[in-house]
Amino acid sequence: MHTTDSKPLVRALYDDDDVVLGAVKELRAQGVAVKEVYSPFPIHGLDKAMGLKETRIAMAAFMYGLLGLTTIVTITYFQMIVDWPMNIGGKPNATWGWNMPAFVPVLFELTVFFTAHLMVWTFFVLNGLYPGRAPQNPDPRTTDDKFMIEVEDGDHVVDLLKKTGAIEITHA
């Protein structure tokens, strides 16, 4: 199904990662809109060649880390200082600051716990990954040794794809 503002797609299959990278650069230089590239492994420099923005998932991870740290600071403060302070061997849990060195291990662990898990959940949500989802790649060979470029159809697009080394071209 095509909406009015999206052109039909053409899919071209390649058999080498360097050829794909060259093809993406060439196609974009010729003004062809490269919609998607499917590859069996990450191709170094492909995101830049496609003009993709840098991912901000690491920044999100940093925020999750801060959230984790805040959470565990709150928990230790409430439980150990406010709600049930203890005095062991004449060393009372008087203030959070005094007691903090003993909390360092848990502060660190919870920060890592929040960062790692929330980042991975974000990764799954952004990529639309969940158990049992139908494969997102149109051709099963692209998880083995083939690469696929998806472009918008237009004049001379097929010729151009052939020129850049496509081994198989299909209209979606």
């Binding site: 492994f41 790692a116 952004l126 990954l129």
Partner: protein, 464 residues
């Protein structure tokens, strides 16, 4: 871009293409199990069931069914716990630390090493949980309000730090491993013909399609997880060592414990990786991927960390003498010459002496020798924990309290059961999971494959 110095040995042997890597990785998954696998699995399963029996017996009859006494209140349970946690550390070290250092040779071994991490941390966790006695109230270790009033857990206690360290380590290692597995599960899914297999891998692969943006995020997530896992793995054994170091028991109360435990953990973990990978490469014909060079690299790490452990043992002895504390001096003298001298000297022989053979290139590239040493090292590391725990406790301050420890059949069955459980999990993994991170390995084929490297060298000659 795909250039690497010809001085470096190739990491993938033979004339491989991307498709060959796919075929080699799926072969164990798509073919029926070799007879050797069934034999190994049956033995492991029998051991596991024996251990399940011991666990049920312990839960039904209490900790009194173990060999503990009033003086030696911690023995095999904590020994086994620390031993298993330590073994787990090599997996994270290979997948995270070597990723940060951009060591390409990690790629053929990281998947199995991480599997080993997860499976051994599961074994480790069983010991403290069962030692609680009433396992159904194990949730008391979590900082949640309880029905007796607002009594909370004690955040000052190293045992509580352990709860947080272990649960974070296990869960973060698992997601790190799983994120890496997704593209490989997708590869198996896209090839599967058997409908049941296709369905299972479709669930496991989460719909992965290898889109450019997804790979970009994938690489960022892997890097951040590696950056998190590196301090995490160091923190875990540090915290485990603090269970001892923060106490006032002579022989435990030493500040050298955290780095010494971490080095020992890496040492024993790499030995276990050797044991497992030598079996895997033989059983599933992975010789082109897990090469002699990989084995050699790991042997060098075993040699270095073994020597660090040796230095730590000697430092401990010296500091005991230098401290002038007679209890401390006695604890160490008693370790080496007391009733547990045989455990101490087994530890010294296995951990300090045996890895020194690895200085010889001939020996460290010999598979049979490596396999034997890898087992010797893990026996030695088990004795290390036994020596630290039992010899420090068995001579109490009052001679009237002096005691010895001997394990009961339940102790032995529980320990053997965890070895069985570990191998049950690992053998199942080896048959159903992609044992090599194939997507990652394909990225280095052009720079580090044997035939590709030869091709580059020929090109060089043609140009000059």
């Amino acid at each position: 871009m795909h250039y690497e110095s010809p001085v470096r040995e190739p990491l993938v042997l033979g004339n491989k293409t991307y498709h060959d890597i796919t075929l080699d990785v799926v072969r164990p998954v798509e073919s029926t199990a070799p007879k050797a696998w069934w034999i190994a699995f049956s033995i492991a399963l029998a051991l596991f069931l024996w251990g399940v029996g011991a666990i049920l017996w312990t839960i039904a009859n209490g900790i009194g069914s173990w060999g503990l006494n009033k003086t030696v209140g911690w023995a095999w349970d904590i020994t086994n716990f620390v031993w298993w946690v330590g073994i787990g550390h090599a997996g994270t070290l290979i997948s995270a630390v070597l990723l940060l250092f951009r060591q390409k040779w990690r790629m053929s071994i990281n998947r199995s090493a991480e599997a080993m991490t997860i499976f051994s941390v599961i074994q480790a966790g069983l010991f403290p949980v069962i030692h609680m006695g009433r396992v159904w109230v194990a949730y008391f270790v979590l900082p949640i309000p309880n029905q007796f009033g607002s009594l909370w857990v004690n955040f000052n206690s190293p045992l509580l730090w352990d709860v947080f360290a272990l649960s974070t380590y296990l869960s973060v290692s698992t997601v790190f491993w799983y994120v890496g597995l997704i593209p490989d599960f997708a590869m198996i899914r896209d090839r599967a013909i058997n409908p049941i297999q296709k369905h299972v891998y479709r669930i496991l692969a989460f719909g992965w399609g290898g889109k450019a943006k997804h790979w970009q995020r994938f690489e960022e997530v892997s890097l951040v997880l590696a950056g998190l896992a590196t301090p995490l793995v160091l923190s875990v054994h540090t915290i485990v060592s603090m269970d001892f170091a923060t106490s006032v028991i002579p022989g435990w109360h030493t500040t050298i414990f955290p780095p010494y435990f971490v080095a020992g953990a890496i040492f024993s973990g790499f030995a276990m990786v050797q044991t497992l990978l030598i079996i895997v490469r033989k059983l599933f014909k992975m010789e082109d991927y897990i090469t002699i060079q990989h084995i050699e690299m790991m042997n060098i790490i075993i040699m270095v960390t073994g020597s660090i452990v040796g230095v730590a043992y000697i430092t401990e002895l010296f500091i005991a003498y230098y401290s002038g504390v007679e209890y401390e001096q006695y604890a160490f003298l008693n370790r080496a010459t007391g009733p547990y001298w045989w455990a101490y000297w087994s530890m010294m022989t296995c951990n300090v002496f045996s890895p020194q053979f690895m200085w010889s290139k001939k020996l460290r590239t010999n598979l049979v020798f490596t396999f034997i040493i890898s087992i010797v090292v893990n026996i030695g590391m088990w004795f290390e924990r036994f020596v630290i725990i039992v010899t420090s406790l068995h001579r109490d301050y009052l001679p009237s309290s002096w005691a010895m420890f001997s394990p009961t059949s339940i102790d032995i069955a529980f320990y053997m059961g965890t070895i069985g459980f570990f191998f049950v999990l690992f053998l199942l993994y080896a048959r159903t999971f992609p044992v090599i991170a194939q997507a990652e390995l394909k990225t280095i084929l052009k720079s580090s494959g044997e035939s590709q490297k030869k091709h580059h060298t020929e090109d060089d000659h043609a140009h000059h």
